[in-house]
Point group: C2
Chain length 293, copies 2
């Protein structure tokens, strides 16, 4: 149980974290901070937050936990703004989709307090956003990656981990570099593919006719192209090296298919498809398909 939590960016993720902790009695008071004042008004009306974080803290009242759930490029500026609220016992954590750049930014702003930082990433994105999208059970049964690093204070890791577990999440510990590499492949690249597919289909000479013939396959493959362009701009830039490597590896994979196609290698093609199908079927059978984003 913690007394005071600040949520920075009271949207889908920030709002759901607050609602989940409240539902499980794990927090007494939630204060919000958001660049959009209307979001704060709405979040308070929805009882996601109990109040708004003031410019300066009331005397002797540092925060217990700070939760950053804003686009990753804002990490530096939000942390700078929050510094007066951060005491020696404040745990700072985030929900950013990339971890190395966030850790670098936090190190720069937090200095000696970097040991209090617990980089995190709940694998629970949705294409919906804003406080109205928040829901107390968003993280139930979902994975949350925390990325420990040398110098991190174990008590802060434990505390953040306990909060996520109170939300019903399954916590996975992973090296930040490995996280960024894996997420480039399983999440960031798929977003680029979705955006690129829409551009390819709709941007063609016969784009309008193409779109009129698009169906369920197109809809599913491109669903994540409905995500926030700003958020994905930030993620793409923050993880550009891994994503760029993933693009290269993916294109190589696609060219392999293309080459089998061009030379009419029926058996090779069917084997490629069957292998992919069975890998995905296995993943689904292990419950992979129940987690979101």
């Amino acid at each position: 149980m913690i007394a005071r939590l600040a949520v920075c960016g009271v949207g889908l993720i920030g709002g759901s974290f607050a609602l989940a902790l409240k539902r499980h009695g794990a927090v007494r008071e939630v204060l919000g901070i958001d660049r959009d004042p209307e979001v704060l008004v709405r979040a308070q009306a929805l009882r996601i937050i109990d109040g708004v974080l003031l410019d300066a803290p009331p005397q002797g009242a540092p925060l217990d936990v700070v939760f950053l759930a804003a686009p990753v490029a804002q990490t530096r500026s939000i942390l700078s703004q929050l510094l007066p609220w951060i005491g020696p016992h404040t745990s700072i954590t985030d929900a950013g989709s990339t971890k190395q750049e966030v850790l670098d930014a936090a190190r720069e702003v937090l200095g000696a307090r970097i040991g209090q930082f617990v980089p995190g990433h709940p694998l629970s994105g949705r294409e919906r956003h804003g406080p109205d999208a928040a829901q107390a059970d968003l993280f139930c049964g979902r994975k949350v990656v925390l990325t420990p690093f040398p110098g991190q204070i174990a008590a802060h890791l434990d505390r953040v981990r306990a909060l996520w577990e109170a939300c019903g999440a399954e916590v996975v510990l992973l090296d930040a570099a490995r996280h960024d590499e894996a997420l480039a492949a399983v999440s960031h690249l798929p977003h680029l593919l979705a955006y690129a597919l829409v551009a390819h289909v709709a941007g063609a000479v016969n784009g309008a006719e193409n779109m009129s013939l698009a169906g369920g396959g197109f809809r599913d493959v491109t669903r994540i192209a409905a995500s926030s362009p700003e958020m994905w701009r930030d993620i793409a830039l923050a993880n550009r090296k891994n994503i760029s490597r993933s693009v290269d590896a993916f294109v190589a994979e696609l060219k392999k298919f293309q080459s089998a196609l061009k030379s009419g290698e029926a058996a090779a093609l069917e084997k490629i498809f069957a292998t992919a199908k069975s890998r995905r079927d296995n993943w689904c059978a292990k419950g992979g398909s129940t987690s979101s984003e």
Copy 2:
């Protein structure tokens, strides 16, 4: 109302066509043909078909309509087998995902009867298959593309069109070449992307760990990788030229993103993402997302 329909390939599409026509009283008798005898037994138990097509037709009883719903590579052999059943008034139609190669195959086998052929493509695929997946309302509100060609007899086009409309489908007429080009972009390429993404993520050195971190985005993008490898092998080969062109155009689109990413062009990236998002949002608003496949 037609008297006798033969359905060749009594799976999701063939079975659903039969069930829909039966429900709307548009056919008196449905005969099935399938390379798998168990499918025929099951389809008869499910009352999808009323009997099995014999090797030779009973005297004076040609079929009214032949509906091919087997993998496109089998068009030639199935039509040859059916020739004795095809009279001067029999309409022949199909449900193949590619149209030019099917038309060529039909022309070869049907010869002077090619005017009775009505190439078709219901945009209603599912990753499920087999007679148990068939449902009478599968085509309700879905598009069906028919591709007229010089020499086609109008009465056959009208009849096939009326059958699809009896199934609740919306019929769209389109040139076969244009159909194949559009479908390469909106359907065949997305399938390749799905297969390639699974191969990229699961086939990597850390493939198992990657897969354990994959979530809803990965799930949706790769859903169609659960489709039948044999069917997609045939479609890919039948439409290889268009698909290969689509792969090239798509890779060019992806490389554009990669280049903006590498040089850190934040505004350009956001614009690319926002344009794709708004195109897809518009498509959804026009009801695009309600159709399947």
